[in-house]
């Protein structure tokens, strides 16, 4: 089960290696540095997990909707709105103690991202709008909303840059391992993955979600209210992405800066595809992407390779995942043919 994804990852890294050779770099040396650095010491390994936490969540944002064949391409916008929700709560209620402030920020991020997502589901349920287009466009609107808030109401008190003040320390997610950046948010991200698994495979709601995904007509015939499913799926989906905002604002940045982490939503899509839209697969893929990011930063700093190489690696891995799916289909067809053939021969004897 792990063989095909590993094969795709290996091919993706090999192809990216060819791109590195264009700049006259030795890919083996680059990868040596990359993985050597990522796993060099406890601080870096912990950083892999810290980087993976929001990636798990945007991966779930796409993967969860994908299970009912709905396309939530708007993870980036839902993530930004989650950031806005978490940051504005932390700024407004900074004098609250941590045990009140943290759940408040967490709830605000889920609600903000979820509501932004639910709108897409609503547009689909009520107006039969194409969810792919609406969720895509909603990201650009979310960026506008965030930029507006950061230049106006949420702007730092010094008033120089489009960013918020540093939030009160009671709003920081506590670190898990001292002297690293790994915070307890990673556990929350894992819990979200487990929750996604339980909802999808252990509840009747999940059964209905997957039924809509497998055969919409049959599901409708069986009495599933697909309109409600659209809204619920998009709310949960957006909620996952919004929660990623809580991770980044309260766990890592401790403030909100305009336009930060602009690829998180797209990376989530890649992670969900590599992980076959299964929560466990998503967690593993997010850890891999986290390692690429941690090691990638050093490679980018030291060997004059542009930061876009990380995007290329992710893109190549995704393309090879698709190729491996096609290959698996072909192999399955051939196997079936051979089975039929051997059965026929068995009959004639």
């Amino acid at each position: 089960m792990l063989l095909w994804p590993l094969f795709s990852v290996a091919c993706g890294l090999a192809a990216s290696g060819l791109m590195m050779m264009l700049l006259g770099k030795n890919p083996l040396a680059v990868y040596g540095t990359l993985f050597g650095y990522a796993f060099r010491d406890l601080y870096n390994v912990a950083d892999i997990f810290a980087k993976a936490a929001p990636l798990i969540l945007t991966g779930l944002a796409f993967g969860f909707a994908f299970r009912s064949t709905l396309f939530n391409i708007g993870g980036q916008g839902q993530f930004y709105l989650g950031c806005v929700g978490a940051a504005s709560c932390a700024l407004a209620f900074g004098n609250l103690p941590a045990f009140l402030l943290l759940p408040l920020c967490l709830g605000a991020s889920i609600l903000a991202g979820g509501a932004w997502g639910a709108f897409v589901g609503f547009a689909k349920a009520r107006f039969q709008a194409n969810e792919f287009l609406v969720s895509m466009m909603s990201t650009y609107v979310a960026i506008a909303v965030m930029n507006f808030l950061l230049r106006g109401p949420l702007k730092e008190s010094k008033g120089e840059y489009p960013q918020t003040d540093v939030i009160a320390e009671s709003g920081w997610i506590p670190t898990m391992i001292p002297h690293t950046r790994l915070h307890w948010g990673f556990v929350i991200a894992l819990a979200a993955a487990v929750l996604a698994y339980i909802v999808l495979w252990r509840t009747s709601l999940g059964f209905r979600i997957r039924a809509v995904g497998m055969n919409r007509d049959a599901a409708r015939y069986a009495g599933v209210d697909e309109k409600r499913i659209f809204i619920v799926v998009f709310f949960l989906s957006g909620g996952f992405a919004g929660l990623a905002g809580f991770m980044e604002v309260n766990g890592i940045q401790h403030m909100l800066v305009q336009g930060f982490n602009p690829m998180l939503g797209a990376e989530g899509i890649g992670i969900a595809i590599l992980g076959n839209a299964h929560p466990l697969g998503i967690v593993l893929s997010a850890l891999l992407f986290g390692a690429l990011k941690v090691g990638g930063t050093l490679v980018v700093q030291t060997s004059a390779i542009p930061a876009s190489i990380i995007g290329i690696m992710e893109g190549f891995v995704m393309v090879f995942v698709l190729l491996s799916y096609a290959l698996q289909d072909k192999l399955a067809v051939r196997r079936k043919k051979r089975d039929i053939q051997s059965r026929k021969e068995g009959d004639s004897q």
Partner: protein, 305 residues
């Protein structure tokens, strides 16, 4: 100010029209080019690189179309030949293109201290017509690509609805079995149409680097590919609908730019920039009756006897 607004609107709608026309053709055969945002970006990159290295805009546009075709070839192979999911494949391609375009720019030019520029496509004033007050300057003082695009759309309409090629293209999206029965390869029609659309998308992308700015930046497309994609839907898979839709969006885009630079403060800048995207959402929700090509998004699997 009105003249400036109209002129700008026409200019901004040009690449949207080209992209939407490409999408109309491809989707009529059943293939959604979800990779459009990435192909626009590759086109903008190819256009700039070609023009900068050769010193000729023509070479830039040629390279942009070649890069667009090549990108479409990758997309078509994955979706048409290997029958992978179009939305998933397209999303993967877009992420890939964003990395590759930036990376190859760096491979070619390193880290320049000042942004590299070329002279953008000049405007050609048509004698007499451009002297008409208000609209003259707006309509008849555009660059050559804009004029050509306004000819391209009616031509595209004619081919799609009045010619044999158009009939084959439309049938492929509606009833591929019949096309197959007539002895025409469905995959071939889809493949060729997608490649043609890729060339057009590359051209449209180059318009952003060579038509307006004369330079290449990382976020040069900024979702305009998606808007072209949306216009194809909203224009009901019809080149003339695409023409109309692109004009509306061009006007929205131009209004945002003109209001921003004129210093008139009606609403915050951020929301001006968001107008085209909000408009797409509203239009997608408001549109009731679509003529969706029946086989849109479904791979064709030939029955094996």
């Amino acid at each position: 100010m009105l003249t400036g607004l109209l002129a700008r609107a026409l200019q901004m709608s040009t690449p949207l029209m080209i992209g939407a026309l490409a999408e109309v053709y491809a989707q009529r055969t059943g293939v959604m080019i979800i990779a459009i945002e990435g192909i626009f970006l590759m086109g903008a990159w190819g256009g700039f690189v070609g023009a900068y290295l050769s010193g000729s805009l023509l070479a830039g546009f040629a390279l942009a179309m070649a890069v667009g075709t090549l990108s479409a070839l990758v997309y078509a192979t994955l979706t048409i030949k290997l029958k992978q999911h179009q939305i998933v494949t397209g999303t993967a391609f877009n992420i890939f293109a964003a990395g590759v375009a930036l990376y190859l720019y760096r491979v070619l030019f390193g880290v320049p201290l000042l942004p590299l520029t070329v002279d953008p496509l000049p405007s050609l004033a048509i004698p007499l017509l451009s002297e008409i007050p208000v609209i003259g300057k707006a309509l008849f003082d555009q660059n050559i690509l804009t004029y050509l695009t306004f000819l391209l759309l009616p031509a595209g309409y004619w081919v799609l609805f009045r010619s044999r090629v158009g009939l084959i293209i439309r049938s492929t999206g509606e009833n591929p079995e019949a096309v197959d029965a007539a002895g025409i390869s469905v995959e071939k029609v889809r493949f060729l149409t997608t490649l043609f659309a890729g060339a057009l998308d590359g051209l449209a992308g180059a318009f952003y680097s060579l038509g307006f700015l004369g330079m290449y930046t990382n976020d040069i497309i900024g979702g305009r590919g998606w808007i072209a994609f949306a216009i194809c839907f909203l224009g009901n898979w019809n080149p003339l609908g695409a023409l109309l839709g692109a004009l509306v969006f061009g006007l929205a885009d131009a209004t945002a730019i003109v209001l921003q630079t004129s210093g008139v403060k009606l609403i915050p800048n951020e929301f001006l920039i968001a107008i085209p995207y909000i408009l797409t959402i509203v239009a997608t929700m408001a549109r009731k009756h679509f003529n969706v090509p029946t086989k849109l998004g479904t791979p064709y699997i030939k029955e094996r006897k």
